[in-house]
């Protein structure tokens, strides 16, 4: 096998488990956030959590697949390591960006849910009767 094929194999072998690990972390720890956002509705939280993780997998594995091709073929071990390092670095940055984006979505959902439950900040000054139409 040529060095470029080894590069591809190592790249895939590293980036796919990395994606699975990040998705698993997101799935496990995002659940608590989502249950709080959906006011204790665990089924809805689990459903949204699952959908988010599916989206996360599709985007990241899609990116890993698209970024596989390397135009300049490495000739020795040093170049193989450099190429893998660069490619994995970019995948990690993409994963990091996606991870923070997901956290942002979770916290926005939670913030909205918390705000929804806030009672009026001031008491009424008077009371009137309201006629029903």
């Amino acid at each position: 096998m040529t060095p470029i094929v080894w590069t591809y194999i190592i790249y895939i072998a590293l980036s796919i488990p990395l994606t699975i690990w990040v998705a698993h972390t997101l799935h496990k720890n995002g659940r608590i956030f989502l249950i709080d956002s959906f006011r204790g509705n665990e089924r809805l939280a689990d459903s949204v959590n699952h959908l988010l993780v599916v989206g996360f997998y599709l985007i990241n594995i899609g990116y890993v697949a698209l970024a596989l091709k390397e135009c300049i073929a490495p000739t020795d071990v040093r170049e193989v390591l450099e190429t893998i390092s660069r490619k994995i670095g970019v995948v990690m940055l993409v994963l990091g960006a996606m991870h923070f984006f997901n956290i942002l979505v979770f916290s926005k959902m939670r913030r909205r849910a918390l705000l929804l439950a806030v009672p009026p900040p001031i008491p009424p000054q008077a009371h009137v009767s309201v006629a029903t139409q």
Binding site: R112, L115, L116, V118, P120, P121, I122, P124, Q125, A126, H127, V128, S129, V130, A131, Q133
Partner: protein, 142 residues
Amino acid sequence: MKCLYVLFDADCELCVRCRNWLAQQQAFVPLVFIAFQSDEAQRRFPGIDALKPGEQLLVISDEGAVYRGAHAWIMCLWALENYREHARRLAHPALLPLAKAVCELLSRNRFFLSDVVDAYQMFTRLSAGRTIAEPSGTLNAF
């Protein structure tokens, strides 16, 4: 609380603009706008005149809780998705007197401010008309 009735002054340009702005915002609690001069206001809230709706903005909940002036504005902000936190901040005892002073000042001068808004609108419309008219004038000169 199912909705908040906002009793605004339909004769005041500034109030109508504020009403339009409020109507465009996304709300946690729906806002229902009723001009205090309308028959609907009298029909829905019998004896509303005792609350002097012409003096300051009035907000009434569907349960009959009444909020006036700065309190009414705070309730409007509280009803909106993007401004609920601001409402909490404004309702703090440190900021509430300032909010009340600003609302009273605006309410007292709302017709003057409406005239200013009208004048500005007329000025922008006139200057826009002049910019459109100028190229045709240049063509006529040739």
